[in-house]
């Protein structure tokens, strides 16, 4: 086991502006430097630094015992992480791609999510499951799923999806520090998105479970998260020309769900559209629309609409642009918000 070098010295090597991938790597590095119980494990996370290079340099800096290339077996990766957490470590596991996480589902659902509950609090499992997720990178089959609804349906898991470089850092730090398991969904197509970001003074650690208003507006609320956040912000800018002033709420966390921030916004605007890449039928949008309707019914000028991926298995790369909700589809939905009822 090698010892950690000074994080400040290593941090200076990070370029500004930073990418989301770099912010995630920095979050793991800072957590590992501060807390010797933090261990990273997964397929290719060591020497290669991950297929997206998100774990780049961690094995070199902290040694192979702290950042471990495991055999290629997702159930084994997560299952051994359970035992490591039982012995007092904080494992951060990488699932490499969304659809590769499915073999680990039994461990996640039968053990990880419920160990605290079944042991009446004696065995909390502070495990972070990093899942690069979502489409838009031209990946072949099984490389672009949005599986958040499965995780959301499992009590005991936190489900988090950052949309900005700052949040990628702040939320991953919070996930690693959490005493409960966190499914940390990393929007693959935002890995290379950049933001002016000071590696010397990284963004604050964000508590999990708080949504944020990314853009204020008065006409309607776009409720979104992860890779759809930039889409909604772009749609909101384009909507100005139509005379619509759209508010964009970035959920950041699907579980716990920030009803307060979402409903505050919808009560002010009176209209809402939920936007995500995942399928509409049985997808997160149904839950969100129902919650908003239950709580804000008398403030609503229109039904809560959903803009989601189609209810199809993730399409091949050459067709994915037709599947993914883009700016036009979001604006079409906004146009359908019964504006005529106002006049």
């Amino acid at each position: 086991m090698t010892t950690a070098t000074s994080p400040a010295g290593a941090a200076a090597a990070l370029l500004k502006p930073a990418t989301m991938a770099q912010a995630l790597q920095r979050a793991m590095r800072d957590a590992m430097a501060e807390d010797p119980t933090v261990h990273v494990l997964g397929e290719d996370v060591g020497t290669l630094g991950g297929v997206f290079r998100v774990t780049d340099g961690l094995a070199k800096e902290f040694g192979e015992d702290r950042c471990t290339d495991t055999p290629l077996a997702e159930a084994g990766i997560l299952g051994t992480a359970v035992g490591m957490a039982m012995y007092g470590l904080r494992p951060v596991v990488e699932m490499q791609f969304d659809a590769f996480a499915y073999p680990a589902f039994e461990q996640l659902i039968s053990h990880v999510s419920r160990m605290r509950n079944r042991t009446r609090g004696a065995l909390p499992l502070p495990i972070t499951v990093r899942v690069p997720y979502g489409g838009g990178i031209g990946g072949v089959e099984h490389h672009s799923d949005s599986s958040e609804a499965y995780y959301m349906a499992t009590p005991g898991l936190h489900v988090v999806a950052p949309a900005t470089v700052e949040d990628a850092y702040g939320l991953l730090r919070a996930a690693i520090a959490s005493d409960d398991p966190v499914v940390f969904l990393e929007p693959k197509r935002l890995y290379w998105s950049k933001a002016a970001w000071s590696p010397e003074a990284p963004a604050a650690v964000e508590p999990i479970g708080r949504a944020v208003v990314r853009r204020s507006g008065r006409s309607a609320t776009l409720i979104t998260y992860g890779p759809s956040v930039p889409v909604c912000l772009e749609a909101a800018e384009a909507a100005v020309a139509e005379g619509w002033d759209l508010e964009v709420v970035d959920l950041r966390s699907l579980v716990p769900f920030d009803d307060a921030t979402v409903c505050d916004s919808v009560r002010r605007t009176g209209r809402a559209v939920v936007v995500h890449e995942s399928t509409g039928f049985g997808g997160p949008g149904g839950e969100i629309a129902a919650r908003v309707t239950e709580r804000c019914f008398h403030h609503l000028e229109a039904p809560v609409l959903r803009v989601a991926g189609f209810d199809i298995p993730y399409p091949p790369p050459m067709l994915e642009r037709h599947h993914l909700p883009g700016v036009d589809r979001v604006l079409d939905a906004v146009a359908r918000l019964q504006w005529e009822a106002e006049s």
């Binding site: 086991m1 261990h39 015992d65 495991t70 055999p71 077996a73 159930a75 084994g76 997560l78 299952g79 051994t80 992480a81 359970v82 035992g83 490591m84 957490a85 039982m86 012995y87 007092g88 470590l89 494992p91 073999p103 039994e106 461990q107 039968s110 053990h111 419920r114 160990m115 605290r116 509950n117 079944r118 042991t119 009446r120 609090g121 004696a122 065995l123 909390p124 009590p155 005991g156 936190h158 959490s178 005493d179 409960d180 479970g209 579980v255 716990p256 769900f257 920030d258 009803d259 307060a260």
Partner: protein
């Protein structure tokens, strides 16, 4: 006409290949290891024999008492380990206090032998929450109902202990059916690659509910599976308590000194049905059961003790009385109704309740108050 020059294709020889490990020392012996009834039995420590005997008698009584409690409706279900007591007792006794045990749902007796309060061990099967004891306090994982999923936990824990410099060993229990699960494979593979201090004990009791071993695997023995992972496989007579204890103790000692994992197959038999919900007469014939009854683990040890003059009437009586007293206490305590607080439903889902759970808890509290007022 074009003259084609004949080209003689000479493939380059492939790079040299050799096996990574010599498989011979990993292979199990052709016959299960036995002590009782062999000349080697004389070498077994009398103190150990007496300890094993006392635990076996208690274990048998625990099994019959728990089975009786299912008939009285005090336990939702009980997967009996009658006939397999030697495996369970030896598993618990082969460990030091600092070691960890990873039991499956049938391994209640291993947990009891480890010293956990029997009522706490039966919590899952009683329906009074899912785990009744603090796993850290007893270094015993919760009884696992999904098959083989607890095996990677054992590997991870053993690996973590070694990383932290502790000489802790994990012993994971699984049945013959569980060896067909993917998690069994992944756990063994991780353990061998990491050289984790873990011991896997397969209690081959002949059936996965109703499916016999022949329909479960085509391997020469379950212990043979070890060689494919690069760890030693050991076969042992699972009804011969000192033999199981010896094989497990050796494997634990080997793991503790950095020798890596071992797969032990204990050949035993489930004398009772899978649970009280099962009808064993549908899938096996009585003569087979009778043959195994004649190889009863309790009787085998008693025979050895008697032959050595170590089991007089007084000793026999005191062991039986101790087991009866344990059963009486268990009966009495299980007959008391469990006191459960419905509000506990929300207590430990997360470290901190989500706003959603706070709302739902308030809803249930209001329901309970209304119920209380109506009463």
């Amino acid at each position: 006409m074009l003259a084609l020059r004949a080209v003689v294709y000479r493939p380059a020889p492939p790079p040299e290949w050799k096996p990574r490990t010599d498989p011979a020392p990993l292979l199990p012996d052709p016959e299960p290891y036995r002590l009782l009834g062999t000349d080697a039995a004389a070498g077994v420590d009398p103190g150990l024999l007496l300890t094993l005997h006392a635990h076996l008698v208690r274990g048998r009584r625990f099994n019959t008492q728990a089975t009786a409690l299912t008939r009285q409706g005090r336990l939702a279900v009980y997967p009996s380990s009658t006939g397999q007591e030697a495996c369970q007792v030896a598993a618990a006794l082969a460990l030091e206090e600092r070691d960890w045990l990873f039991p499956s749902y049938r391994d209640t007796l291993a947990a009891v032998t480890r010293g956990i309060d029997p009522v706490q061990v039966l919590t899952l099967l009683r329906g009074d929450w899912h785990t009744g004891y603090d796993p850290r306090e007893h270094r015993t994982a919760p009884l696992s109902t999904p098959l083989a999923t607890q095996l990677p936990h054992a590997v991870g824990l053993a690996h973590a202990a070694r990383l932290r410099g502790d000489d802790v060993v994990a012993l994971a229990l699984v049945g013959d059916g569980g060896t067909s699960e993917g998690d069994f494979h992944e756990a063994l593979n991780f353990a061998a690659v990491w050289q984790a201090p873990v011991v896997f004990l397969v209690q081959n009791n002949g059936f996965a509910i109703s499916v016999p071993l022949a329909k479960q695997t085509a391997a020469p023995s379950l212990a043979h599976k070890a060689v494919g992972y690069g760890m030693p496989g050991r076969l042992v007579d699972g009804n011969d308590a000192p033999a199981v204890h010896r094989v497990l103790s050796d494997a634990v000692a080997r793991a503790r000194r950095g020798g890596g994992p071992t797969l032990v197959e204990a050949v035993t038999y489930r004398l009772e049905a899978h649970t009280n919900a099962d009808d064993a007469t549908r899938y096996r014939e009585e003569p087979e059961v009778e043959a195994w009854r004649a190889h009863d683990p309790v009787v085998l040890v008693e025979r050895e003790l008697t032959a050595r003059g170590l089991l007089d009437e007084q000793r026999r009586r005191s062991v039986t009385e101790d087991a009866e007293a344990m059963a009486a206490r268990l009966r009495e305590r299980m007959n008391a109704d469990a006191e459960l607080d419905p509000m506990d439903l929300f207590g430990q889902v997360y470290a901190e309740r989500t706003s959603q759970l706070r709302e739902q808890a308030a809803h249930l509290r209001a329901e309970l108050e209304a119920e209380g007022e109506a009463r």
